[in-house]
Symmetry: C2
Subunit: 140 residues, 2 copies
DNA sequence: TATATACCCGACTAAAATAGTCAAGTTTTA
DNA sequence: TAAAACTTGACTATTTTAGTCGGGTATATA
């Protein structure tokens, strides 16, 4: 059960911004260098973050991106949703009448997976970007 | 963030066994028919379950598989581990000194992902196969 | 106003993972 | 001894992932 790198890099890059922004835009180039993420890949990621109103952009020289919300307000869940990373651990469709394995009734395990999804979702819902920053162990 | 079908089918098949076994072996053919899972695929899955001592097999006519533990004792986590489905949501290596994105220090987000893994793991650790069965909504 | 910096965006692709199938067995019991 | 059922490794089509590529556009500053 894995999270894809896009989601991971997105959280990483936003955490970087939270640390290094002093009310000025942070360029992808800087994030790329500091975090070791491909610039081209970051561009792709930030396109989505911008469309979903997680960041706003400043074009031109000295441009970059800025967080729309403060790190305290920004939920990790919002970041993941911006990258289409839904927490839906299995394929059963919740709403459909013809759902699990093509059967008309819910499969034996259906409700269990729903529970799992809720469990994970609530974790991402409760965590804010700021929660990542107070770690003493980490050096930048 | 998805669970693979192998893990899902494994849990499903074992739940089926828990429901339909009356101290006799349950054949994969029956599970296949009831749960709508390919017989050939089930064979592959049960090979792993057997290797990991989740089920034991009875060969020959009227053969099949039996649960090694009772549904009350069998943790969902054990099932997932049997299928190599580790709950390790990202690629950072926990122990290595040269870990995240090839850097010598832990990445900003490292501890957060560790927390996530623990959160999910403890869910699978706490749930037993029997927990799936008491659901009144489900018909068989 | 030239130019360098940095965002913008769709299309493409190699590699890996997934979700199976296939073939050729072996074992056991009725 | 025939049929049911487990055993096992190898194979494969499809999908997903993890990016790259190419060609833009906007803007600050020299």
């Amino acid at each position: 059960m894995k999270l894809n790198t896009k989601s991971r890099y997105a959280v990483m890059a936003l955490a970087d911004m939270a640390v290094f922004s002093r009310n000025n835009a942070v360029s992808l180039r800087d994030i790329s260098l500091r975090q070791g993420i491909s610039l081209l890949y970051l561009e792709q990621i930030f396109l989505k973050l911008k469309k979903n109103n997680i960041v706003k952009s400043v074009r031109g020289i000295n441009g970059g991106y800025m967080l729309v919300k403060t790190p305290k307000e920004l939920k990790i869940l919002d970041i993941l949703l911006a990258l289409d990373q839904k927490v839906k651990t299995i394929g059963c469709k919740k709403d459909s009448k013809k759902s699990c394995n093509g059967k008309s009734t819910k499969c034996i395990t259906h409700n269990f997976w729903d529970e799992l999804d809720i469990h994970i979702n609530s974790f991402f819902e409760s965590k804010k970007l700021s929660d990542l920053l107070r770690n003493k162990e980490v050096r930048y």
